[in-house]
């Protein structure tokens, strides 16, 4: 798989999918991002990120139930794969490492 690296928005989407555990589909992700990060994003941006992450192997997907509110179309539910978790952990430790190297600043902000 090419592109083991994540963009900022991709990382956010990946984390949101992880936090929504099993209920993550595009609309839910969009709402969650608004709720947590207070960021208004267009649904197409979320689609773009989700499918790309799936192509990269960080997400897997399955069909959920079809509902009337969706015009009879099924939801595509996303889940973080183990590769996705690996990457999230690695990025987290990279950041923690970096944070620990700037003690004064981390004191001030913390």
């Amino acid at each position: 798989m090419k592109g083991k690296y994540l963009g900022e928005f991709e990382e956010l989407v990946l984390l949101v999918v992880a936090s929504l555990s099993g209920e993550a589909y595009a609309v839910a992700v969009k709402n969650e991002i608004f709720k947590i990060a207070n960021r208004k994003v267009n649904i197409s941006a979320v689609h773009s990120a989700l499918y790309r992450l799936e192509d990269k192997g960080f997400l897997s997907s399955d069909f959920g139930a079809a509902t009337a509110v969706r015009g009879g179309k099924k939801k595509r539910l996303f889940e973080v794969t183990s590769a996705g978790f690996e990457t999230l952990k690695r990025m987290k430790s990279v950041k923690e490492n970096l944070w620990s190297q700037i003690p004064q600043l981390s004191f001030q902000t913390l």
Binding site: A26, N42, A45, Y51, R52, F63, V69
Partner: protein, 890 residues
């Protein structure tokens, strides 16, 4: 409110449709589901209108996801597989119908090969003098003299003063170089040759032109007097492996020149060729006047100097000519007034010299090319290629019926018209590529024979020329598209239903187009054949024309260049001639300054004695002895020849008829005993000779005076009896060597020498014939393919006709009628075109034929016969087939 909501519960339909286009089908369901969910949510929150707007915005924003997952299905997967399939089906088709493929490929290959040959030849002809680094700014100074408003002298050589004068007056001139042609016998030790490519030239010559020296310094090699720069091959000829620098060569037994440089041999595509370049100062020393000036620097009337100027980059020669005219008038105006003439020195780009110049005193007159012929050939090359492409189009569309089923199946299985067009274009690309490779092979193998045939010296260097490959690529791409596009569109337009239900009538598609193309092909063939016949007739005419003199069994020996004591020459020459006549095989001998077929450089002023001085006009001179006219069997139409018994004949003059006319005498008889001023002395006309072709049948006969000059023995003409040829020749050689020791015995036969002038025309006709054959061959390949398919598709009809009692002859007639009609139409198109083109070509010749009706009829019938031979084999075999074979399978 509620009811309205229900009615508008779905987002705008067009936006949904748009989304379907934007999003890949595999993702549409879930993305549309998400957008729909958002829409419903917003509808309750914000109202239908606002939700609709936001839905549209979401759809438009989704354009960013256009690429999502699309690549996988289309670009990478599908088209690679399809391209693979195009090639696969192309090769299957080629193999499946071998005759057709071979016809098609060979036709294309021959066409492309012919085209490549011609392009090589043409680009070589056009490459003349382009190897000079300065070639865009190098010009030759021409010399034109007008008398009484008429162009009297139109010469490639100018006067010695004009070069320096231009440099003094015109700021555009960077430098000038004069070239004075001479020739002579060169001696080094006991090595001795007569050399023709010997010139005297300014030191600047080696810097203006790109003639690199392998030894010596180009800047200084030609500054001092008595220096010579020789070519590499000459250096080998005289010095072998010795170092030539500093060696002394003897010219004509009197001048000693020291080798100061060795130049690389002049490339073949140079209009100017040299083996020896002698410093100009040497000439100045020979023409030094009492006051220290040299005629070869100051003369305004001695026009033997090919003068070249190098202008500042980008200078406009037209502007230059105009400005220079004023300076010239300042300097020369008085003389122009006094002697009632006007001279001009227009500039000619040196790259135009080879193809577009045919003046007096060209540096290499026999080598001059013909720009018109080259353009003709370019057109022919294009036509042959066109004929080959037309073949392809014709064969492909004619065969369309066979391919119709394939197209039907492909379409039924979901092929789009575009994919079919691609498929057929791929086929034409592959066929063109194979043909191109074969054509390259033909060129590589055939180039030697082509060189022999056309007396050119093309080599395979073009294979490493990027421009050549660019042309090849263009031919390939343009060829594939031109020849592939029409069949591709015809074939891809078939409707599967009509193909399978058999409604598609056999081969009607593109019938009119096909006929038009066949007519075009054969019109081109008829044009080429008729033109070839006319070229041939014209050449034969020039060779067989009564030139007015006899050149059979005539040996010409060049007169001695080295002769010890000048005053003894006349008597030695006389006893030499007398000695030769002792041999029974030699019937007569004459010495003269020129022989027929040799360009006359010797000119002079002449006028009728009673006329004022401003009436002098230029006339060519041929110095002759008493035997000249009888030896050549030239008719004396009035008066008499010079007679040895008449001591007063030194004050007499013989002229030709053209000269009599120029001087304004009413007839030759009335000119006898009239007096003229010639060489500044009064002379009386004693004889008038027939206008025989002294120079060439290509040009008008010029006015010539034949002064009695027994010492002007540049050539000895020896007329043989033919019986004892070998011993006569041996005797001539031994006598020459006894009388003129130190001179090489250089000889030629006059008929060869004279006909050498037609060498270019003959080459041209050979090239013409070769490509006419190419064109007809290619056209016939096409016709053969076409006729076999036409016959094939009518085989059932023929079967039924035979069953119902039609005879073989009536069937042959039926099948041939269409082709005969097409060829007759082609003839009607070709005749006027040929007549127009060839009339223009014939205008180049002074004596020319008028193309007769027979030429056109012969070429028409010839093409008809060739075409009928081509189609008859197929037609007759079909007519003879047992009808059962044709009808039984239904």
């Amino acid at each position: 409110m509620q009811s309205q909501d229900n009615r508008d519960s779905a987002p705008p339909r067009w936006a949904v449709k748009l989304l379907r286009r934007i999003i890949d089908a595999s993702l549409f369901d879930d993305i549309y589901g998400d957008l729909y969910e958002l829409y419903q949510e917003r509808k309750t929150l914000l109202g239908t209108r606002r939700a609709g707007h936001l839905f549209i915005i979401d759809v438009l924003a989704s354009i960013r996801n256009y690429q999502l997952r699309r690549k996988k299905y289309y670009s990478s997967g599908n088209s690679m597989a399809m391209i693979h399939n195009y090639f696969k089906s192309t090769f299957r088709n080629i193999v499946k119908n071998k005759t057709y493929s071979v016809l098609n490929i060979m036709g294309l290959a021959l066409g492309i090969a012919a085209c490549l040959f011609i392009l090589q030849y043409v680009s070589y002809e056009r490459s003349y003098d382009k190897f000079h680094a300065n070639h865009p700014d190098l010009y030759r100074v021409l010399y034109k003299v007008y008398r009484n408003g008429e162009l009297n002298i139109d010469c490639a050589a100018a006067v010695p003063r004009v070069g320096p004068f231009m440099k003094e007056k015109m700021p555009q001139v960077i430098d000038y170089a004069r070239v004075y042609p001479m020739g002579g016998v060169v001696t080094y030790g006991d090595i001795q040759y007569r050399e023709d490519r010997m010139h005297m030239t300014d030191p600047s010559f080696l810097q203006m032109f790109t003639f690199p020296l392998v030894k010596g310094d180009p800047a200084s090699a030609l500054i001092d007097p008595n220096k010579v720069v020789i070519s590499e091959s000459v250096a080998r000829k005289y010095f072998g492996n010795e170092d030539p620098l500093g060696k002394i060569l003897e010219v004509d037994g009197e001048h000693q020149v020291e080798v100061s440089g060795v130049a690389m041999d002049v490339p073949d595509n140079s209009h100017f060729k040299f083996d020896f370049l002698i410093s100009y100062e040497t000439l100045n020393n020979q023409t030094r006047n009492d006051d220290g000036s040299a005629s070869s620097e100051t003369a305004w009337g001695w026009y033997d100097f090919n003068t070249y100027v190098l202008l500042q980059p980008g200078s406009d020669p037209a502007v230059f000519d105009k400005q220079f005219e004023e300076f010239l008038y300042e300097e020369r105006g008085e003389d122009f007034e006094e002697y009632n003439f006007k001279a001009e020195f227009p500039l000619q780009p040196i790259t135009d010299i080879h193809l577009y110049s045919n003046l007096l005193q060209e540096s290499e007159p026999e080598e001059q090319g013909d720009g018109q012929a080259v353009s003709f050939l370019t057109i022919i090359a294009f036509f042959i290629l066109l004929i080959a492409w037309i073949n392809y189009v014709n064969l492909s569309t004619a065969r369309s019926i066979e391919r119709a089923r394939e197209v039907g199946v492909r379409k039924t299985l979901g092929a789009t018209p575009r994919q079919l067009v691609y498929q057929f274009l791929t086929e034409s690309l592959v066929l063109n590529l194979i043909a191109l490779l074969i054509a390259l092979g033909i060129v590589v193998i055939g180039i030697q024979s082509f060189n022999q045939l056309t007396a050119s010296s093309l080599d395979l260097a073009f294979l490493s020329d990027p421009f050549f490959w660019l042309v090849i690529l263009a031919v390939l791409i343009i060829g594939s598209i031109i020849s592939g596009l029409y069949p591709a569109f015809v074939l891809s337009s078939f409707k599967p239903v009509s193909v399978f239900s058999g409604q598609l009538s056999m081969g009607t598609s593109g019938n009119g187009m096909r006929r038009a193309l066949v007519v075009f092909q054969f019109a081109a063939s008829v044009t080429l054949i008729a033109s070839t016949i006319i070229v041939y007739q014209q050449l034969a005419h020039m060779r067989n024309i009564d030139l007015g003199f006899d050149m059979t069994e005539t040996l010409v020996v060049e007169g001695p260049a080295v002769f010890g004591i000048d005053s003894l020459f006349a008597s030695t020459s006389k006893s030499f001639k007398h000695e030769l006549l002792q041999h029974p095989g030699i019937s007569s001998v004459t010495s003269a300054s020129n022989v027929p077929g040799d360009e006359i450089f010797w000119t002079n002023g002449i006028k009728r004695e009673e006329e004022p001085d401003d009436q002098f006009t230029t006339i060519y001179n041929v110095g002759v002895d008493y035997e000249y006219f009888p030896t050549y069997d030239i008719d004396i139409i009035a008066g008499r020849n010079y007679l040895e018994s008449h001591s007063t004949d030194t004050g007499s003059l013989v002229l030709n008829e053209a000269a009599i006319k120029m001087l304004g005498f009413p007839s030759a008889d009335e000119a006898i005993d009239q007096r003229v001023t010639f060489w500044g002395r009064p002379k009386s006309i004693i004889g008038v000779v027939d206008n025989y072709n002294q120079m060439s049948a290509k040009t008008q006969v010029a006015p010539i005076a034949f002064p009695l000059a027994t010492r002007a023995a540049r050539f000895y003409t020896i007329k043989m009896d033919g019986e004892d040829y070998q011993s006569a020749f041996n005797s001539a050689q031994s006598t020459y060597e006894a009388f003129f020791p130190g001179n090489p015995f250089d000889y030629f036969f006059l008929d060869d020498f004279f006909n050498r002038q037609y060498e270019n025309d003959r080459t041209f006709s050979r090239v013409f014939i070769l490509f006419a054959i190419f064109a007809i061959l290619v056209a016939c390949l096409g016709l053969f393919g076409l006729s076999s398919f036409t016959v094939l598709k009518r085989s059932k009809e023929i079967g039924i006709r035979k069953v119902l009692g039609a005879g073989v002859s009536s069937i042959v007639q039926l099948l041939s009628r269409e082709f005969i009609m097409l060829i007759i139409v082609a003839n009607l198109v070709a005749w006027p075109v040929t007549y127009f083109l060839m009339s223009r070509w014939l205008e180049n010749y002074a004596t020319r034929i008028t193309p007769g009706v027979s030429v056109f009829i012969i070429s028409g019938v010839l093409v008809l016969v060739i075409a009928m031979l081509t189609v008859s084999q197929k037609i007759i075999s079909t007519a003879l087939t047992n009808p059962v074979e044709a009808i039984r399978d239904e």
